[in-house]
Amino acid sequence: MSERLLLALLFIAPAALAADSVTALLKAADAFRLPAESVRVETHVELYKNGTLDKERLYTVYVRPGRRSLVLMKSPSEIGQKVLLLADQFWLLMPESQRPLRITPSQKLLGEASTGDIATMTWSDDYDGSVTDEVDCPQPPSGVSEAPAKAHRCLHLDLAQARNGVTYARVELYLDKASKMPVKSDLYVGSGKRAKEAWYFGTPVDGQLRIMTMVLLDDIQPNRRTVIRYRSIVPKAAPDEFFNPAALVRNPLTDW
């Protein structure tokens, strides 16, 4: 083996190991939100303005492997709206027009509760990065936490998008060092501006700790706070044909 090859291996191997380690960390973190590859998630969103509950929204989200998600809006004011996410491609169906509209990644960010925040529940498929340091876990600001957080050590990950079409271009993620449960993330849009910070709260479900609540603080509208509660996360594989954009107009998915 030549000296050059040895030198190359010396430099490349640790980098590859680090990447594997970050992927493993992200998969471990994902498991706190998504217990199976295919699930149906009932999501309740509370939108607070200046600390007062302003709006409530209900969503049913079907997640399938291959970065496929289908969001059904269930609130009276939004009933019939659907959003389909197939990797980095997105469609919106408004009930008034019954016409699937192709939307851009930036349009996915629009609306009171970003579809990307509702439909995307994993990091490992979408982001690469590194563990930058080990720090005391950040503490949620007053009014966000439902219970005082215990002092823990956290791994601080700096993640960049590995694919097109992800909701946030960069994520700073804090994982509890012992359990790998997500504690907090800072979410940055393509321009480099921080758009939101997210706090994650776990609840024991069937003997396992699961993230059932996520609180989003909006940097662009600082008086807003969004609380996303996962009412149920059930392993369920919706049929492939439901994830065809043209099929949005006909599938009520009432039996799913």
Binding site: S75, P76, Q98, R102, P105, L110, G111, V249, T254
Partner: protein, 349 residues
């Protein structure tokens, strides 16, 4: 359909299937105020002030879907009118996981575009209408096939009705093909009818980067629109092309141009149109917008500004439209000079 019958039918079905059905109701109040153009050469026979009040019910149980409206229409100088409208009433059935069928009255929209959608050969919708009420579907029987990236729909619209006095009342056989190819949405349509004979069209939408989408569509029609003497114009092509940019801030800009050979005969306006639209989404339910439509051939223009705000169950919409442009242009001579409208919608359950 008589109002009582519409609601009796929906109510009966709601009662039968109460256990599993999803039922939703909403109230809409939509007043409108028009300033007439006294210099217009066209006759004006519409009230200045009017208002539409709708009680809307939607029912869905498995594949069964119904949407009905009980409407009160009040207008200055006229007695109130009451209408019962069955907007949609259809069943979506399944023959196999990839093969479905539909029978009934359904909204079936296939178009590509924003202000003009030439591929909408079944659901013909006036996309430039001011504060339009919910669409009413078309009676049809259809078979649809879906796979991962393909879809086919074959529909027979207004079965057994024969030749109609307008395109949307003409019985037809139609086909829609959709394919997702390398991130592009591709559409093809084919329609055979008494009035237009053969219509065939294609369209595509492409997303470029995170912020841009571009689209275009064209439709060949074997016969053009009907002239005043009852004869048909020769073969024609409808076309649209546009681009939309949406930024991180929620601002979006849309530029669209279209050629509508039906416009001169049907609406008295030039066939070439250019639309520029600016809109903003504040991510808190407020969505203001402004758009300018120009007809380059005669220098006409229509400016529309509006905003909507959505609360927990309520939505308010306000808007205004002013027609004008170069003297002698179709829009400068249009009978309505200015339209102001508002809408309040409450989702009850």
């Amino acid at each position: 359909m008589p109002p009582r019958l519409t609601f009796a039918l929906i109510g009966m079905l709601a009662a039968i299937s109460a256990g599993a059905a999803e039922i939703h109701g909403a109230i809409t109040v939509a007043p409108e105020f028009i300033t007439w153009n006294t210099a217009s050469p066209y006759d004006v026979d519409t009230p200045r002030r009017s208002s539409r009040q709708d009680i809307e019910l939607k029912l869905q149980d498995g594949g069964f879907n119904a949407q009905g409206i009980l409407r009160q229409q009040i207008a200055e100088g006229h007695s109130p009118e009451y209408h019962g409208i069955a907007n949609q009433f259809y069943y979506d059935g399944t023959l196999s996981p990839e093969l479905g069928w539909t029978a009934g009255k359904k909204v079936m929209a296939w178009g590509v575009g924003f202000g003009f959608k030439p591929l909408d050969v079944i659901q013909r919708e006036n996309r430039r209408a001011v504060n339009p009420p919910p669409l009413s579907g078309v009676p049809l029987a259809a078979v649809e096939r879906f796979s991962g990236t393909d879809a086919w729909t074959i529909a027979w619209t207004r079965p057994g009705q024969g030749a109609g006095e307008s395109d949307d009342r003409d019985s037809a056989a139609a086909l829609h093909w959709y394919r997702l190819v390398d991130g592009d949405d591709l559409h093809g349509v084919l329609r055979v009818s008494h009035r237009r004979q053969l219509e065939a069209g294609v369209g595509a939408t492409r997303v470029v980067g995170d912020e841009w989408s571009i689209y275009s569509a064209a439709l060949y029609q074997g016969r053009g629109p009907m002239r005043a003497d009852g004869s048909f114009a020769g073969a024609a092509i409808k076309a649209v092309a546009g681009a939309q940019w949406t930024g991180e801030s929620g601002t979006s800009v849309l530029l669209e141009a279209w050629d509508d050979p039906d416009a001169p005969l049907a609406a008295g306006t030039p066939r070439e149109n250019v639309l520029l639209r600016l809109a903003w989404d504040d991510r808190d339910g407020c969505k203001p917008y402004a758009d300018l439509l120009v007809t380059p051939r005669d220098g006409g223009r229509v400016l529309t500004v509006g905003a909507s705000w959505e609360g927990n169950r309520q939505r308010f919409t306000l808007g205004g439209r002013q027609s004008g442009g170069r003297a002698g242009s179709a829009y400068a001579e249009a009978p309505s000079k200015r339209i102001l409208w508002a809408e309040w919608r409450l989702a009850i359950f």
